[in-house]
């Protein structure tokens, strides 16, 4: 009873009582602030896919979907406000698209029994579902990314990186620091020299870092950047005439925003990815007929087919598939967040499934299990062509070095488990 008055006040204040007959997907987006260029296409893709499902199929399993957007501006305090204001609406899964907000929400979502999907970001060791019961980071995480880049370079160099020099240019935050441990281990294993080059937020000033790179002459540069830092880095790399084909960004440093500014100089720049690029997939026809032509496109509707739009769409697709899995497991159409978690844990993505969805070969096929919330960690490489202004895949989705990543995940998640007295879930 003691919450009644407060609840009434909130209901009155927000004038939005939970509509139970919807599958609610909160979208903690950022269309403003320093990282808006990355946040807008992702949020558009996420919203458009669900709008398409509503218009084409009448929702998922006969239940309409509803996307509640909340602006975080990449700010953790606003992220908390967004989480608290949407969690009472029956939100099925959170995707904050921010490593900082992810760290806040890992314990909160676990306590509230709501799953969170941090696709290719967040806390890497959340791949260990034994410790992180409600956090998922399939299909690939930061450490898969680091290993994927090294594997690609190994391939390029005939299987040996002995004596090579590899520099990591990273955003000096929780996100950018993630791959350091993995790269240190890999450098010991493969005998390359590893150098860290931190760039402070927001990364508009990188002259000294690239001067250092010019002096040290690394053979390859790997970048973990986000937002304006990417554009500046690509431009600076071009300024010191660093060969673009030896410059590899993580998937958050591989969108059109990052390379267009540098013009022709960015030609040949590479980036990792865990999903397909371009709009040459049947699902985009459905989005055009059911969403864009109906005038329901999210945002300005000008992002369709860009890398980050595709990523938002891919995230929405994985969420929708998890809903279908949950509906099949529990035999109900209008699922709860707890059932959604079971669906995500039993998720299987196969080639046939993706082809049936109109996304053939859009991403790697993978399975999620109770112990493995990270999928199989397959990573591909894309390359930018400045003349046609397109990204194209230059390698298949290849496996990463789980011999190195597995123990690191076990170690980091064990530390979290000890800190928070978590016993195994599986």
């Amino acid at each position: 009873m003691k919450y009644k008055l407060g609840t009434m006040a909130v209901a009155g204040l927000m004038a939005a009582s939970p509509v139970m007959a919807d599958l609610v997907f909160p979208s903690l987006s950022y269309r403003t602030g320093p990282y808006a260029a990355g946040g807008i296409p992702f949020a558009d893709g996420y919203a458009d896919y669900f709008a398409m499902l509503n218009a084409r199929d009448g929702g998922i399993g006969g239940v309409m979907t509803k996307v509640i957007e909340c602006e975080t501006g990449y700010n953790t305090e606003k992220g908390v406000e967004c989480y608290e204001s949407t969690k009472g609406e029956g939100s099925l899964v959170y995707q904050p698209l921010s490593t900082g907000i992810t760290y806040q929400l890992i314990p909160k979502t676990t306590a509230d029994n709501i799953p969170m999907h941090t696709m290719g970001y967040g806390r890497t060791s959340a791949a260990n579902g034994d410790v992180f019961s409600h956090t998922f980071n399939y299909p690939a995480n930061y450490w898969n990314g680091a290993s994927g880049a090294i594997n690609y370079l190994l391939n390029e160099n005939g299987g040996s990186l002995d004596g090579k020099k590899i520099a990591l240019v990273y955003h000096n935050s929780a996100y950018g620091k993630e791959p350091i441990r993995t790269l240190q281990e890999l450098s010991a294993k493969h005998g390359f020299e590893f150098k860290e080059v931190p760039v402070d937020h927001p990364g508009q000033e990188q002259k000294s870092q690239w001067l250092q790179i010019r002096r040290d002459k690394p053979d390859y540069v790997i970048m973990y950047g986000w937002g304006v830092m990417n554009q500046v880095a690509v431009q600076e790399a071009a300024n010191i005439r660093f060969p673009m084909e030896n410059f590899i960004g993580i998937w958050w440093s591989g969108s059109e925003n990052d390379v267009l500014a540098a013009g022709d100089a960015a030609n040949g720049y590479k980036a990792l990815t865990f999903h397909g690029v371009g709009s040459d997939f049947p699902v985009f026809d459905d989005i055009k007929t059911h969403v864009v032509d109906a005038g329901n496109a999210a945002g300005a509707g000008d992002q369709i087919g860009t890398v980050l739009y595709n990523r938002g769409l891919y995230a929405a697709m994985l969420a929708a598939e998890a809903v279908k899995t949950a509906q099949a497991i529990h035999g109900v159409a209008d699922i709860t967040p707890a059932q959604m978690r079971d669906g995500m844990e039993a998720l299987e993505i196969t080639e046939e499934k993706m082809a049936a969805l109109g996304l053939p070969n859009f991403g790697p096929s993978f399975n999620v299990s109770c112990a493995n919330h990270g999928g199989d960690g397959l990573v591909g490489v894309t390359q930018w062509d400045a003349s046609t202004k397109t990204w194209s895949l230059v390698s298949d989705f290849a496996p990463t070095d789980m011999d190195v990543i597995g123990p690191l995940i076990a170690e980091d998640s064990a530390a979290y488990a000890a800190e928070n007295n978590i016993e195994g879930n599986c």
Partner: protein, 370 residues
């Protein structure tokens, strides 16, 4: 009609010198306290606590702290974010047990502190750091001091990002508050009851406000204000500028450290120093005291409430009621908050506290203004 002192007689010095000498004012104050302590905890839920009340209470402490330094002692500071970070990281280290290393070996590890004392230690350590960065204030003034404190801001954030000892060598450089309780009542971590977190912060806010109020109207406050108004004259009448300025830095930093510790442990639970305690935080708290009113404890509360509640209120009106796109509302929010700050500075440079004072004067005469 209101705020009349007619018939309100003081028969002792203590009665005459109390904080709220007018009876009506005093009872209003008791009523606010009563509602805050007894009524509010029973009617709040997660949303109210985490989105509105905790940030309000914690920012109020920070604003009181900064107000002592800027509003009462006249020393401009832009290092609030960095000092809050000192409080947060000290609290974290004491919560998890401080480990002392020497020559690559672990010398000893302090036992984990209770969350209450961890927060206090956050304040104490920040006071020490604050005094250190306050030393230049003995030589430089005004803008130059602002630049010196700005250096503190950037140095401290850089240090917490750089030295892994502060974040217990975690791979990501984040600090996470583990679950801690006082007598079985959880205060940090995800399973905290809203009323517990609220009352814990409320306790610190009320205590800090009472201490600050009494210090500022006592001898030390008079010394600070003398320094603020004219430091040479103050020195001539016997105020020791060294002591006055450094105590202002110490007390101010103590409060800011407490607020940083609470901000990390109770409110956010996980912190990344550059994002949470960056230069924007320093400006935000500075705006709070400018809008609320420099040199006023009530102003600190009013400013904190204004800048915490306004964005949420605008969001609720714009997105939830009117159904506008979130990005337009976010942009409008910047325009409106910015516009209000300018309007305030032009129309009422002494802030909300001055509006309140004027309203009180009017109410005293109302309804017969002559």
């Amino acid at each position: 009609m209101f705020y009349r002192e007619a018939g309100d007689f003081s028969s002792t010095y203590a009665e005459d010198q109390q904080t709220f000498p007018i009876k009506f004012d005093r009872y209003r104050y008791y009523l606010v306290l009563f509602i805050a302590i007894v009524v509010v905890p029973f009617v709040i839920n997660d949303y109210w606590v985490n989105s509105l009340l905790l940030p309000f209470l914690i920012y109020a402490i920070a604003a009181i702290g900064l107000n002592i330094l800027v509003g009462y002692c006249g020393q401009v500071s832009l290092g609030t974010g960095g000092f809050m970070a000192v409080g947060a990281y000290t609290c974290y280290k004491f919560m998890t047990g401080v480990d002392i290393w020497w020559g690559g070996e672990l010398l000893f590890r302090l036992p984990e502190f209770n969350i209450f004392f961890s927060v206090i230690m956050g304040g104490v350590m920040t006071a020490v750091v604050g005094v250190l960065f306050g030393l230049p204030s003995l030589r430089i003034k005004g803008f130059y001091l602002a630049v010196a404190t700005l250096a503190a801001q950037f140095f401290l954030v850089w240090m917490f990002n750089r030295i892994s000892w502060f974040y217990n060598y975690s791979a990501s450089g984040q600090i996470n508050a583990p679950e801690r309780d006082i007598m079985g009542v959880l205060l940090t971590g995800p399973s905290v009851q809203p009323w517990a977190a609220y009352l814990f912060c409320l306790f610190f806010t009320i205590t800090c406000a009472v201490i600050a109020r009494n210090m500022t109207r006592g001898a030390s406050g008079r010394k600070w204000m003398a320094i603020r108004d004219m430091d040479i004259a103050a020195e001539i009448i016997g105020v020791n500028p060294l002591k006055a300025k450094l105590t202002a830095f110490a007390v101010s930093s103590f409060f800011i450290g407490i607020s940083g510790a609470l901000f990390f442990s109770v409110y956010l639970g996980a912190v990344e120093v550059g994002e949470v305690f960056g230069i924007q935080k320093s400006f935000l708290v500075l705006f709070m005291i400018i809008i609320g009113g420099l040199g006023s404890i009530f102003g600190s509360f009013a400013g904190a409430a204004f800048l915490v509640l306004l964005p949420v209120a605008l969001k609720v009106v714009g997105v939830d009621w009117l159904g506008w796109p979130t990005d337009i509302v976010a942009h409008l929010q910047l325009v409106i908050v910015g516009g209000l700050i300018i309007i305030f500075l032009i129309a009422e440079p002494h802030g909300i506290a001055q509006l309140w004072r004027v309203a009180k004067e009017k109410l005293r005469l109302w309804p017969f203004p002559h």
